[in-house]
């Protein structure tokens, strides 16, 4: 069995004491920061990214992946206990999770989330192992035209899935692409949009943008309604779910895993869409649908499984195509580039130990999560209790030092502050930052592929529709864009988000 051989190689890489240690540290730090109310995975990863720079690439990526699951899992814990979701994907968890906690069943809700996540993570690990290599060999046949069209599809998907106005999201994507072009043009060496500032020659760092828009911007937003923000934490009781709970969990976990895995593979979606879809489907077909919104365990198990499955399968486009599908994987791409690895279809053949090591470490990370979560729940609860007025100055300090340490220049601190303002202003105007960050990292890649495709076709733009794969990708992108304009779909889209924020 080829697959088993690969997984064995992965196990050998991931299970070395050093890598296990950093996987554990990543999961631990990720959970610790993820449980802090109002801090989502994107901000957490951006903050902790500089810590991994001192490590060798494989270890660093294993640790980063651990931070990712940890922060996502920590976010779920917070959603259940205090009703303050750190990020969009765990919004739906609060609906039933927090109700359960209020009824003294916080333990059962946490267990549903842990078991669901672990099961989903295990399935998704095998999916990546199974689908990764064939997909990568298909991707090896991709020319520049196909890559360009694939990125168009990814950006269109992120626009379609963005909350709020479609037009605003399109604008954010284009603006993100433009901002990504700041710096030296790789082809001609021309300095673009640098205004003679020497520090801009390398462009603006993506971590700087992410920390500014997601870290600082989020803090300013949280301070807005600080007075109403009270951390009334429910006591954690009933740590073990009953036999009845287990029975009711099984089907939603299976369905959530399937939905989350399928939707996570789509470029541009990540885990958010999955958890929304899994919740609404469960609400429609469950026997206990009357209990939804009042503390149904199905309403925790399904979105949490979907959430984790999607988070993990979103690594498939990242590892095989080199295309990030959400801000978190965009940060991973950035981290890989910093470590000298160009993510793409060749990684799997050129660096099998890295590829398989990362995949197996995902599963180990999920296992550590479950093991870690139960004994440490008391500690997480204490961390959630830290009042926000003591929390955010600390976050600012870590962001400022972290962003400085990227290139040891104060300029990045200035830009972070600037992007904090930009992020806040745009959020006030109803423009989501996620599509912009994705476009920001894709900007230079897209230009390069467009340039090569057009060079090969001698300036004939029809090349994008003459090549079958490229044409298909563009057609799918076109359909996705049109689907939003169809009244029925756009209504469902709005409803899904309203349900989430309500």
């Amino acid at each position: 069995m080829e697959l088993m051989g690969h997984l064995l190689l992965g196990l050998q890489t991931a299970a070395t004491p050093v890598n296990l240690f950093y996987c554990f540290i990543g999961v631990f730090l990720g959970t610790a920061i993820g449980v802090l109310p109002g801090l989502g995975p994107t901000a957490t990863i951006a903050m902790l990214l500089p810590v991994t720079f001192v490590l060798p690439p494989v270890t660093a990526l294993i640790m980063l992946a651990g931070i990712y699951y940890g922060s996502q899992y920590g976010g779920s814990t917070t959603s259940i206990l205090v009703n303050l979701p750190g990020e969009a994907a765990s919004v739906v968890t609060t609906l039933d999770g927090h109700q359960m906690a209020k009824q003294g069943r916080a333990g059962a809700a946490l267990a549903a989330s842990a078991i669901g996540s672990f099961f989903a993570g295990t399935v998704a690990t095998f999916l990546i192992a199974g689908f990764g290599p064939p997909l990568a060999s298909v991707a090896l046949k991709f020319g520049p035209a196909e890559f360009f069209s694939l990125m168009v599809l990814g950006l269109v998907a992120s626009v379609v899935l963005a909350q709020g106005s479609l037009l605003h999201a399109i604008g954010m994507v284009v603006l993100g692409l433009l901002l990504g072009l700041i710096g030296t043009d790789v082809n001609s060496g021309a300095q673009r949009f640098t205004f003679g500032v020497y520090e801009l020659a390398d462009g603006i760092g993506f971590v700087t943008v992410a920390m500014g828009m997601f870290g600082l911007g989020e803090i300013i937003r949280n301070l807005e309604n600080e007075a109403e923000r009270s951390v009334m934490i429910t006591k954690v009781t009933g740590l073990w779910p009953t036999r009845e709970d287990f029975k009711r969990m099984v089907a939603p976990i299976l369905r959530g895993t399937a939905i989350g895995s399928a939707l996570g593979i789509l470029p541009g979606s990540g885990s958010i869409l999955g958890s929304f879809a899994a919740y609404s489907i469960e609400k429609k077909i469950s026997k206990n649908r009357a209990e939804f919104g009042k503390g149904a365990i199905e309403g925790v198990a399904a979105p949490e499984s979907a959430n984790n499955a999607g988070a993990q399968t979103s690594f498939i486009p990242l590892l095989t195509l080199g295309i990030p599908s959400n801000p978190v994987s965009a940060l991973m791409v950035g981290a890989m580039i910093i470590h000298g690895i160009q993510p793409g279809p060749s990684v799997i053949h050129e660096q099998p130990a890295l590829f398989w090591g990362m995949i197996v470490s995902m599963w180990i990370g999920n296992l550590i999560l479950v093991v870690l979560n139960y004994p440490l729940i008391g500690m997480w609860v204490r961390m959630i209790r830290i009042p926000y007025q003591y929390l955010y100055p600390g976050i600012l300090v870590f962001c400022a030092i972290g962003v400085f340490s990227l290139k040891n220049t104060e300029f990045d601190i200035y830009f972070m502050a600037l992007f904090g303002v930009i992020g806040y202003v745009f959020s006030k105007l109803g423009c989501e930052p996620a599509p912009m960050l994705l476009a920001f990292i894709l900007g230079p890649l897209m230009e390069e592929y467009l340039r090569r495709a057009m060079l090969l076709s001698r300036g004939d733009p029809w090349v994008f529709v003459q090549r079958p794969i490229s044409a298909t990708l563009l057609a799918v992108a076109g359909l996705a864009m049109c689907s939003v304009l169809i009244p029925a779909f756009s209504k469902t889209r709005e409803e899904a988000f309203v349900e989430g924020s309500g």
Binding site: V51, V54, S165, L167, H168, I170, G171, V174, L175, L178, L181, D185, N187, S188, A190, R192, F193, L216, I219, I220, R221, L223, E224, E226, A227, P387, Y388, Q389, Y390, Y392, P393, G394, L396, V397, C399, A400, I401, F404, S405, N408, E410, I413, Y414, M416, A417, G420, V421, K428, L429, G430, C431, M446, E447, L450, R451, M454, L455, S457, G459, D460
Partner: protein
């Protein structure tokens, strides 16, 4: 009459950035479709952004939208200025001065600001960061900078 101020202002911002991109890119070589110069892609994107912005502005006069919420200027200023200040003084004054300043100024943005607790936190964070980031991870920043004889 503007019926959606969100659309209107977003549109204006997009038009501003789009138009600036096109204008600035005029200094770079345009090239041809088959041999794109450095100005090609930015110009296309700038044009696209300006078009999106124009549509948003036009739409703002036709389709009613939700109003823009109040700007939290206090939070905005008290979060971003100390970060800027931190960047400006950290090399000269050192982390032991810049960090507490960042903590105290930003903490004052909170409605639950409390002097004593904030100062204790600033001291704790400073010690932690000096030990972890400067001594541990070796980030090249002084504890006390040249301004204070460090």
């Amino acid at each position: 009459m503007i019926r959606s101020s969100k659309d209107f202002w977003t549109g204006l911002i997009y038009i501003f950035f789009g138009a600036s991109a096109i204008l600035i890119a005029r200094d770079y070589g345009m090239g041809t479709g088959g041999k794109m110069g450095p100005a090609y892609f930015p110009t296309v994107l700038g044009g696209l952004l300006a078009v999106v912005g124009t549509i948003a502005v036009i739409r703002s006069f036709i389709v009613p939208g939700t109003p823009i919420g109040a700007f939290a200027f206090k939070g905005l200023v008290l979060v971003c200025t100390p970060v800027l200040l931190f960047g400006i003084i950290v090399r000269g004054a050192g982390l032991a001065v810049a960090l507490p300043l960042l903590v105290v100024i930003s903490a004052s943005a909170s409605v639950r600001f409390h002097w004593r607790a904030t100062l204790i936190m600033a001291a704790g964070l400073t010690i932690f960061c000096v030990l972890v980031f400067l001594k541990g991870l070796g980030i090249p920043l002084p504890v006390l900078g040249p301004w204070f004889g460090g």
